[in-house]
Amino acid sequence: MRSEPPGAARRAPARRGVRATPALVLTAALAALVACGGRDSRKRAASGDQGQETVAALATLPWDSVVARARGTEVIWRMWRGDPSINAYVDGWVAPRLRDRYGITLRAVEGQGPEIVNQLVVEREAGRHTGTASLLWINGETFSNLRREQLLAGPWAGRLPNAAYVDSTSPIVSRDFEQDPAGYESPWGRVQFALIYDSTRTPAPPRSLAELAAWIRAHPGRFTHDQGFTGTTFLKMVLYAKAGGVRGLQGGFDSTRYAAARSGVFAWLDSLRPFFWRGGTTYPPDVSAMHRLFANREIDFSMSNNQNEVVTKVRQGILPPTARALLLTDGTIANTHYLGIATNAPNAAGAMVVADFLLSPEAQLEKLKPDVWADGTVLDATRLPDEWRARFAALDADPRQLPRDSLAKYARPEISPRYHERLAADWRSHVRGRQP
């Protein structure tokens, strides 16, 4: 039932037009307000945030004092929550021990790389000196972006008692995408890229990039890569090959060397794209979609940044029991993931204690177990007490894991995050730009 008199609707546009003006003015005022807030908060960030000062002060205290300050507090940890195995380890194994030993309540919440940076930038713009999360799971370009934006507190990582066990001689652990962590992040786990295949469907899988290319041509529509981080890592391995090895790209970003290697990558991709899944016209959004396609037999290879993910995914029933990890002899990229503390961390002391516990031999060993997460350790076995060294050695014998010497033989370090950024952007414009 209409409540206005006949004809009112025809007059309405003019009235709405008049009323639209205050809305536009209000919008403009809000934009100006937001902009002013952004500038002010950036000034505050430059002068140092509360969290930064707290971490700097904490790093000078005896460790017992840090633990005493952390006791009875809550630590919010922003991390990727997409894997049930990781969630079970954090919620079911780590959290109860932190509560029992330190009285710390650990609350892991969703938030990976780009989201973490975006969230912290917005919190800074909102003028929040005390943010929401204290501990962050980061590496690579996220670390680079957070450092560039001065959103990470530190240095503190060297202050952790368990840092003494870290494999600091390994370039893969001590450098994060060629960046010096400089104490602004503490290593947590180490992984290596691997292809995933089904040993019954593909009994003789390709062992090198050249063999992979031949296999793709011989099996049209059975191979693809995802559009996310893992897919870009795969393309970066091709980049290494086209640059004559990782050494051709080490030493910071070089646009000339990058351009030459990128041409090789795109030539390789263009020659193979007609043989990709769906003719290379579309790509799975992420590795979970790839795992699904692989499990449903739509493609014959999946991939992962963790060489042991196949073990946990088989256990979860996501991948078939005959799925196996595969390292290419050209080398596969290995990297380390880290823990950082935000400059606006509400509980920096608690975050440091949690990071130290996660670095302990006990927590690292548990995380390494194939039945738990199968995430590689960042500890150097030779630095560990005998008891722990023996326990780590016993896990090495697990047949479900790739042999440690094979992993070491084919491991290639990360390069400047700028390569990752550029390759992701260039792939996007190259592939999407070529579609009719």
């Binding site: 009112a8 780009p114 449903n296 739509e298």
Partner: protein, 292 residues
């Protein structure tokens, strides 16, 4: 009526109405303000200096316009299919018998299904390894499931449009059924008494009532489908990217300097919504004087 006039007349109802309007509009206006400021490089991740580079860059990219085209195509197709389904249900099953009641109940069944679940169902049923493909392979219609035309990650977004149409048809069916139950019976009876046949009654009476009554809901569905992320993330192709995926793609760009592009894409999405609402208001303004 201005605030001053409200105050002068002491109309509490007007003031409450104005307050409610402000409360409802404030988050949207703040969002628009922030997105506009971020598009201009004043705030947001990677903001360095004010300028129109982000806007120019996004608008100059072919992927943006192809994404906009796919977004509009999927939204139009899904809305049209959903509306057709809703009208069929409302017209064919309007009786009080148990069969009609069951049919109406089944038609609104998708209503409580979350969009994420609807997307997952779309993958499960429409994928090349999905249920339809497996059944067709089992009965020998195709040699293997993968031979079934791709409806997930497909270039034309057919799987996404079908899934959204299924999900949104329930909402439109509820509205359409209520419209016919409350507004059409007497007029249709009168038309039939005057000698109109079933087709004439539908064209002259039922359809105009349905169309005008459904229009706001249709606009809402169109805007929702255009801006929906969950099902698109599971079903839409990687090239071109529908606008909600383009926003997410840019917001998580490894290059911090490119993340502000997401706000420009957001404003484009907002533009679609505004145009749809303006089109609705314009249409309503033309029709209202004609209403009995």
């Amino acid at each position: 009526m201005s605030i001053r006039m409200c105050l002068r007349r002491g109309s509490a109802a007007d003031l409450i109405g104005l307050g409610a309007g402000v409360v409802l509009a404030a988050p949207v206006l703040v969002g628009i303000g922030y997105a506009a400021a971020a598009s201009l490089g004043v705030v947001g991740p990677g903001a360095t200096a004010a300028g129109v580079e982000r806007i120019a860059r996004v608008l100059a990219e072919r992927t943006t316009w192809r994404g906009l085209g796919l977004t509009l195509w999927v939204a139009v197709l899904a809305t049209a299919l959903a509306m057709a389904g809703a009208v069929l249900v409302a017209v064919l099953f309007r009786g009080a018998g148990w069969f009609d009641r069951v049919a109406r109940g089944l038609a609104v069944l998708p209503l409580p299904v979350p969009h994420l679940v609807a997307g997952a169902l779309g993958v499960w049923i429409l994928g090349q390894s999905g249920e339809i493909a497996r059944v067709l392979a089992a009965v020998g219609a195709v040699r293997m499931p993968a031979e079934v035309p791709a409806l997930v990650y497909d270039r034309w977004g057919i799987g996404l449009a079908l899934t959204m149409a299924w999900k949104e048809s329930a909402f439109l069916a509820v509205v359409a059924t209520a419209l016919l139950a409350t507004r059409s019976v007497d007029v249709e009876d009168a038309a039939r008494t005057l000698g109109a046949g079933p087709l004439q009654t539908f064209v002259r009476i039922t359809w105009p009532i349905l169309w005008r009554g459904l229009l706001p809901a249709v606009i809402a569905v169109f805007v929702f489908v255009a801006g929906s992320y969950e099902a698109a993330a599971l079903l839409a192709p990687s090239d071109p990217l529908v606008l909600p995926l383009l926003v997410a793609d840019r917001a998580s760009d490894p290059d911090l300097g490119r993340r502000g592009d997401a706000y420009v894409a957001t404003l484009l999405l907002l533009g679609i919504a505004v145009l749809a609402v303006v089109a609705h208001e314009w249409t309503r303004a033309r029709w209202e004087p004609l209403d009995p």
